[in-house]
Symmetry: C2
């Protein structure tokens, strides 16, 4: 059996869907599948689906002559990676779910549990847009906004598994109230949902962030104003990130990054304006798309294997 025959069972569990894959140690995906999360069925049903899907993937690997060596699972929310527990995950209804232990029992494989954005950042830093640099901040901008600070290929977890919550830093003291309860959070001003909400409010007709981006690019005055306000707030957030982390590269991912240069170009200019004595980081779009979470879950599982074999 050559190392090429080894694969990691990887799952990236989101609020609506699960992205699942078999990933080789070099990051190559040999098999991919998707399943609905079905969060409306409650946390126990979601856990059962995760375990069923993981077991199915291990079976698929074996049927293809590969050996599953580990399992990596990524979940949103507050994740205690050290204990392998999904502490709090609103999107999938988890509250203190010992997912690592459950998966290890069911699969008989060493398992790592990671935070979705943190493992996404791990993958972008090691295999994607941050590949050639040591200090990377990955920022995922979608329904919410969160970040992963990756140094030397290791993502910071924080003391309680809650590091990188850049969506919940204050940028507009007089701004709208955030879902977390505080006013003026970056997420409340510049997430895809906040942009859509703001436009809808001002225009009187519904518009998603993607539509706002398109209309702004087409010269629509109101859409342009809403888009610029979000970009300015994002630049404030990234400038704060740079002041605290001092990275080489910022990788922008999540749904909003699909606006491409329509987001990256003005964001880069606005960030540059805000940096005085700090070095400007390279600002780039994520390279791995929505596979980043799966790849990162696999990397985390391989890291854990390696640590245990030391």
């Amino acid at each position: 059996m050559t190392p090429g025959d080894e694969v990691v069972v990887a799952l990236d569990v989101g609020g609506t869907g699960m992205k699942c894959a078999l990933v080789r140690p070099d990051g190559r995906v040999t098999h991919a599948e998707r399943h609905p999360t079905g969060a409306e069925r409650g946390p126990e049903a979601v856990v059962a689906t995760i375990l069923d899907v993981a077991e199915g993937l291990a079976g698929t690997a074996r049927a293809a002559g590969s050996t599953p060596v580990a399992c990596g699972i990524a979940v949103p929310g507050v994740i205690d990676e050290a204990r392998g527990v999904a502490v709090w995950s609103a999107n999938v209804g988890f509250r203190d779910v010992p997912l690592r232990e459950l998966a290890e029992k069911r699969l008989g494989l060493p398992t790592a549990l990671g935070h979705d954005v943190r493992v996404g950042g791990l993958a972008e830093a090691r295999l994607g847009a941050g590949r050639d640099t040591r200090h990377v901040l990955f920022v995922a901008i979608g329904t919410g906004i969160a970040a992963a600070h990756v140094v030397g290929g290791v993502a910071a977890t924080g003391a309680h598994g809650a590091a990188g919550e850049i969506g919940h830093i204050l940028v507009r003291p007089d701004g709208p109230r955030c879902g977390c309860g505080r006013p003026g959070c970056l997420e409340a001003v510049a997430s895809a949902s906040a942009i859509g909400r703001r436009y809808t409010e001002l225009a009187g007709t519904p518009g998603t962030a993607a539509e706002v981006a398109q209309r702004a690019a087409a010269g629509d005055e109101l859409a342009g104003r809403v888009w610029r306000a979000a970009v300015e707030a994002l630049a404030d957030g990234l400038a704060t990130g740079q002041a605290l982390f001092d990275v080489d590269t910022m990788v922008i991912g999540g749904g909003l990054a699909q606006a491409g240069p329509g987001l990256l170009d003005p964001l880069r200019a606005a960030l540059r304006e805000r940096l005085t004595f700090h070095r400007e980081p390279r600002l780039v779009a994520a390279a791995l798309g929505d596979e980043a979470g799966c790849l990162g879950a696999a990397l985390l599982a391989l890291d854990t294997l390696e640590e245990e074999s030391r």
Copy 2:
């Protein structure tokens, strides 16, 4: 020769004075002395003084029967620890000074160059107020405001030696302009100098931050208002720090920390108000006083020795 006879030559170079010591590997200070920095004489004269003082300390160690094994130097500004270069240090006029190399040549000792607040944080995290916890944010509030994020006894430097600049995060978009050129930085609102400036402006009579703290405690209405505004801004800054770093312990040092419970108590309450899903860190005053920089410079030098011997 027992290990107890080994000492590190440690210097903490500030804008006005240098704190210098001989430090044993266990953190005990066997000798301390202070010298004026004399920054007005220009960077070359300051470098000459640093080297003279360091050589003198090594001589003092030998005269007492100890063996100097390394030298640690802490300097403010942007410090590239990996290259041992003081990249930019306004207070002492340094610009790309290869201080590590200069000291190694002069002393014949392995030398480490560190950032003053970062090594101060290192000392507080390992020997001081953060001693029993793994994730520590040290925040020094004085003329300026800066932080050191220390995890597992290692302080983050960033990609260009500029990590931890919590003084230059946006907290008040409509606030006063900061020395760095941007409006609304934490430092421009809540540093000791900003507090003194604001009070002087409103009261029409001069008052330092220490006086504002005293007058606020004594019930002076205006001083109380100025103090509370600073505390609120600091709490915003610390809440941002907690969102990004998720630490166990925040250690508050620098001149403003001398206000003791007059600062720590309202700051703790204001921080608590701002944390929603994040765990509240323990908020404590620094324990090592103005020796932290010297101790941290020694720790950094010892870390470097250890790495090299691996």
